[in-house]
Symmetry: C2
Subunit: 322 residues, 2 copies
Amino acid sequence: MDEQKPYVIGVDLGGTNTVFGIVNARGEIICDNSIRTQEYATAEAFVDAGCECLRPLIEHAGGIGNIKAMGIGAPNANYYRGTIEHAPNLPWKGIVPLAEMFSKALGIPVAMTNDANAAAIGEMTYGVARGMKDFIVITLGTGVGSGIVINGQLVYGHDGFAGELGHVTIVRGNEGRLCGCGRKGCLETYCSATGVARTAREILEKSDRPSLLREIPAEKITSLDVSIAAGKGDEVAKEIFAFTGEMLGKACADFAAFSSPEAFIFFGGLTKAGALIMDPIKKAYDENVLNLFKGKAKFLVSGLMSSNAAVLGASALGWESK
Amino acid sequence: MDEQKPYVIGVDLGGTNTVFGIVNARGEIICDNSIRTQEYATAEAFVDAGCECLRPLIEHAGGIGNIKAMGIGAPNANYYRGTIEHAPNLPWKGIVPLAEMFSKALGIPVAMTNDANAAAIGEMTYGVARGMKDFIVITLGTGVGSGIVINGQLVYGHDGFAGELGHVTIVRGNEGRLCGCGRKGCLETYCSATGVARTAREILEKSDRPSLLREIPAEKITSLDVSIAAGKGDEVAKEIFAFTGEMLGKACADFAAFSSPEAFIFFGGLTKAGALIMDPIKKAYDENVLNLFKGKAKFLVSGLMSSNAAVLGASALGWESK
């Protein structure tokens, strides 16, 4: 880390809000601010607003001379090119060279990657993966994302888009659930927040066992409802998490055959279910993994579970930039 | 490559024979020799015999001073530790520190990895992967092995055993074929030479369509028989390769979601079937891969298809050693 420049900027660019934070080398956000992503019809207007939003933060940090670089975590971001490409949930269409635009406006290096990769770099820099060279972060949110680290380096692949583990096929053939990507049986359709809600509806429909979840209209059940019910000991809710964990554990067994990581690190709202989801993951992993790998990998929950985890993750990219 | 030392030794350590070769920087084997692996009850006796076998070869190369290092490709080899660990097809049980033993006996650095990893390094050094930083070699032999290269580095994982893509689960549940590893539905049970023979028996049994393969007793059919029949235009034999290729293509679609390689490189006897297997692989890949990756990856056949490919692959490890 650059002794002359004690701070980096971390940016969590989301479909609704974009949060800017100034982060020090200990992983503390010394100040932050946000703008509404959707309010800016063009990327130019967004960059202008972002710089405006950053101005008082940069001043608070003692000026731009104290800031080494900026890291952005954004959907559909390409690390190699510093572009956001065809992001369905952002107002700007096509390929947007956002890293270059911010770099020109601020006069510092800017790197960009997708949210899950930013989380992986964050875990390595500030979180539970400190000192690890081989691990996989799996983000369980609206979708299922992943950031893969091998030999201490994030895996971007030849085109910058590697690490789409939410879209490995976990159920083959026609019985696989239809995914937003147009294919069937993707891990994401079972293990995302929406996947859990879908599992809830399926399990409730299949029997008439009593459950707290029956008090909610089926189409309105969320993964949070399942979490709350499971926390109260609801057996059906526990079964929903057991099924979700089983799918994840089976997938991780295949991932081990690929890169044999030291740890699988889970990130996102679903991990709040704790042992209710982590135990089934570990059980299914041990039942399905090649003997050679049995009992070796750790199963951890993210060490960056604050509301600012995404900003921290993105900021970690800044320390890496040259 | 070391200008002072123009040669490396490549060793293909197999269950039956062990081949030693002296290789120059252009990937030419200038001389080679072999011993029978099974004749040596202890690793010590094997190393003695190996050095004896190497003596005239080293002399031919102008003495040990001309040799930079030795690379060994061996089953169950651990790259980090330079050991062979619990290899079921070798006479030496437990953990054998073979790299260190040869290094002491010869006075040069010795590195060791498994056969498929050696093939991947060989492709990168002398073969079709020259200049590539992200690719996956899949070996289709008695089993299915793999060597994965990411960011120009071989993936060993945290324990040295990564890259076991023959053991990802391609058919889940009870209908999956039983694998030698004790699990069900591994890719290897469908796409190895024995997997192809198994597919042949299953397809022949299911119908009474005429086929050249019916001239061979079912339990004696080999993948070579299927290749020969397919080469003669036998429709059943072509269907067997189509099924094999479909399984491989589906698996590669999942591998793309992991590391988004520039190329998949196939190595081993089955690739001699050419378009009969490569076309179904590509077709299944395109039908199953995430849109993001469609049409990007190359599907190649190894550039090291001589009988000495394994020696060349292992020798390439020698150039990397320090």
